[in-house]
C-alpha cells in the first residue's frame, strides 16, 4: 500500500503504514466494542437499577419484617403479539409488609393443538423498586413447556427488601409472555 509514496519532502509524521495499521486496529476494536455494549448494557441496567429488571433467584432467608408499613403489590400479565396462551394472574393485587415472604400464582393455558414453550419476561414499576424485589421462585426463571391443551398454575414466591424507599407505596410487577419456541432448551 505504500508503494506510491513520494520519495522526498512530505515527511511530517510517523510512517503511513504504521498509522494505517493503528487505525485498522482501532476500527476492529470498535467493532468489538459494539458487541461489548450488549453485556455492558445489562451491567449498567443492573447497577443503576433501571429497565425494571429484577435480579435472579435468591436464597430464602428469614428477615426482619417491617410491619409499620404496607405495600400494595399489583400483578399484570401481557401476551406478546401473537402468543396464543391464556395467561392470567390469580391475585390482582396483594398488600404485604416489606420483608415478609408471599406466594402468589399465575395461570397459563395452551389452547392450541401444538406443544409450545413460553418465556415470561418480568418488569417492575417504578423501576427504582426493581432492585428491592427478591424472588426465591418464579415461573419467569425458566421456560414453561405446555402440551397442547395443557394448563398449569405457576407460583411466584417473593418479598420486598425492607430497605425499600419510604415513598414507594405501590409496586407493579408485570410479566410479558413470549413464544419461546425458537429458543427452546
Amino acid at each position: 500500500m505504500t508503494s506510491k509514496l513520494p520519495e522526498s519532502g512530505t515527511q511530517s509524521g510517523p510512517k503511513p503504514s504504521n498509522t494505517a495499521l493503528k487505525l485498522v486496529l482501532a476500527a476492529i476494536a470498535m467493532f468489538g466494542f459494539g458487541f461489548a455494549l450488549v453485556p455492558l448494557y445489562d451491567v449498567f441496567c443492573e447497577f443503576a437499577g433501571i429497565n425494571g429488571k429484577t435480579a435472579g433467584q435468591v436464597e430464602k432467608v428469614e428477615q426482619w419484617v417491617d410491619t409499620s408499613r404496607t405495600i400494595k403489590v399489583q400483578f399484570i400479565t401481557t401476551n406478546n403479539d401473537g402468543m396464543p396462551w391464556e395467561f392470567e394472574t390469580l391475585q390482582e393485587e396483594v398488600e404485604i409488609h416489606p420483608g415478609a415472604w408471599t406466594q402468589v400464582a399465575f395461570w397459563a393455558f395452551n389452547p392450541t393443538q401444538n406443544d409450545m414453550v413460553g418465556q415470561a419476561v418480568p418488569s417492575v414499576s417504578p423501576s427504582e423498586a426493581a432492585q428491592y424485589v427478591q424472588k426465591t421462585e418464579c415461573f419467569c426463571f425458566d421456560q414453561q413447556k405446555l402440551k397442547a391443551g395443557e394448563g398449569r398454575n405457576m407460583p411466584l414466591i417473593f418479598s420486598l427488601d425492607p430497605d425499600l424507599p419510604d415513598h414507594v407505596r405501590t409496586v407493579t410487577m408485570s410479566y410479558t409472555l413470549f413464544d419461546a419456541g425458537a429458543f427452546a432448551e
Binding site: P6, G34, I50
Partner: protein, 530 residues
Amino acid sequence: MTTATANHDDHADHGHHGPAKGIMRWVLTTNHKDIGTMYLWFSFTMLFIGGAMALIVRTELFQPGMQLIEPEFYNQMTTMHGLIMVFGAIMPAFVGLANWMVPLMIGAPDMALPRMNNWSFWILPFAFGMLLFTLFTDAGAPNFGWTFYAPLSTTYAPSSVTYFIFGVHMMGISSIMGAINIIVTILNLRAPGMTLMKMPLFVWTWFITAYLLVAVMPVLAGVVTMMLMDIHFGTSFFDAAGGGDPVLFQHVFWFFGHPEVYIMILPAFGIVSQIIPTFARKPLFGYASMVYATSSIAFLSFIVWAHHMFTVGMPLQAELFFMYATMLIAIPTGVKVFNWVSTMFRGSMTFETPMLFALAFVVLFTIGGFSGLMLAIAPADFQYHDTYFVVAHFHYVLVPGALFGIIAGVYYWLPKWTGNYYSEKLGKFHFWMSFIGVNVTFFPMHFVGLAGMPRRIPDYALQFADFNAIATVGAFIFGLSQLVFLFLLIKTIRGGEKATDKVWEGAEGLEWTIPSPAPYHTFAEPPHVK
C-alpha cells in the same frame, strides 16, 4: 470534471504520464483526482435516485388518502430514500471532495494509500447495487425505516433484509477505509511548514470526521451483524423471548447514529469556512476556536445518543443527562455560527454562487439547529417525537445544511477542477430555485408536525392537507432544479470562460497556486508553507 483533466495532459508539466485511456483508467486508477471525481458522480447519481424516491413519497402525500402507491411500497420508499441519501449521497460526496481537495490543500502529491482508495470507492457501486436490487425481488426492499429498529428489522423484516445487512457491511468497510486514508494522508503527507494549526478548516473538519467514522462505522457493522445472527443463527440479541432486549438495539444504533449525523455536517462546516473568507475577503474569524469547537462537537456526539429515544422509557436522571448534554452542543455550534458572521462583518462581500449557497447554509442550518434544540427538551420531545417536526428538523440540517455545503463546495472548486468558469447566471438560477424549493418543502413540515402529523405514515388527517400540498409543490421545485445543476456541470466540463489559477479574487490556500484545471499530478515537489 472528468474529461477536463483528461484533455489537459499537456498541462502536466512535471514530466509525469497522464491518465490511461478508456474505461480501465477509471477501474484501475489510484489517482486522487480520478477517485474524487468518481465519488462525486456516484453520489450525484444516488442523489437523483434517492430524490426520485422522495418525490414518490411526496406525490403520495400531495392529498390525504391513498391514491398512488400501496402502503407497503411507501414504507420501502421512505426507507430506501433515507438509506440512499445518508450513505449513498451525502457521505460519498464528502469523501469525494476530500479526495480531490485534501491533498491539494496540504500540498501532498496524492492520498497516502492510493490502492486502498481505489478499493474503497469501487466497493460502493456494489453495495448500493445490492441494496437497490432488493426493489425488484418478491420480498420488496427494506421497509423498516432507515433506522431499522428491531424487531421490525429482525422478526418482522422482509427476507431482503439480508441483502440490506451485507450492503451496510460493504458501505461501512468503504467508509472506514476512506476515513483511514484521509487520516493517514493528513498525518503524514503535509507539506513542510504545514503545521496542524495552519491546515485549512476543510482539512481540519475532515480530519475530525474521519476519526468519528473510524470510531462508529464499526459499531454500525456490529449492530447489523447482531441482526444477521438473530435472523439466521438463532441468537437473541434483540428478542426478549430468548433473553434479549429490543431497546438495546436502539442504544447501539444511536451510539453509531448520533456521531453519524455530525459525520454528515462537520465537512460542510469546513467547506463553508473556506468559502465565506474568500468572498468576504477577510481571513476566517476565530480560526483556533473553530478547530476547538469542531473537536468539542465531535466529543459531545458520543454522549448524547439517547436523545433520540426519550420516549422509550428511561429513568428521569438519564433523560436529564441526555437533555443537558445535547443542549451543550449548541455552544460550540453557536461559536461557529458567530465566527462565520464575524468573518463577514465589514468584509468586502460579493455574492457569487458558492457564497450564496454558503450564506443559505448558515441561515438555514441555524434554523435546523434551533429546531434540534427544541427536540432536545425531553418533556417537549414527547410531543414532537416521531412527528413531521422531526422530519422538518433533520431535513433542514441535511438538505440546506449538508447538501448545500456540498453544492457550495462544488461551485467553489469547479473552476479549479475543470479549468472553466461555470455560468454565474445559471448558477444563481439554480441557487434561487433550490433555496425557494427547499423552504417551501420543509418549512410547512414544522407546522404539521407540531399539530401532530406522524412521520412514516402514507395517509394523514384532513386538516394537514394544505401544508402537505405546498410541501409537495416545493419538493418538485427543488428536485427539478437539481437538473439545472446537472446541466450546468456538464456545460462547464465541456467548456466555458477559462479560469485563472487563483479562480477567485479573495481565494487563499495551496489549491489556488496550481494551474486550472488542476494537472493530473500535483505537488510532486512539495511546496513550502511559510
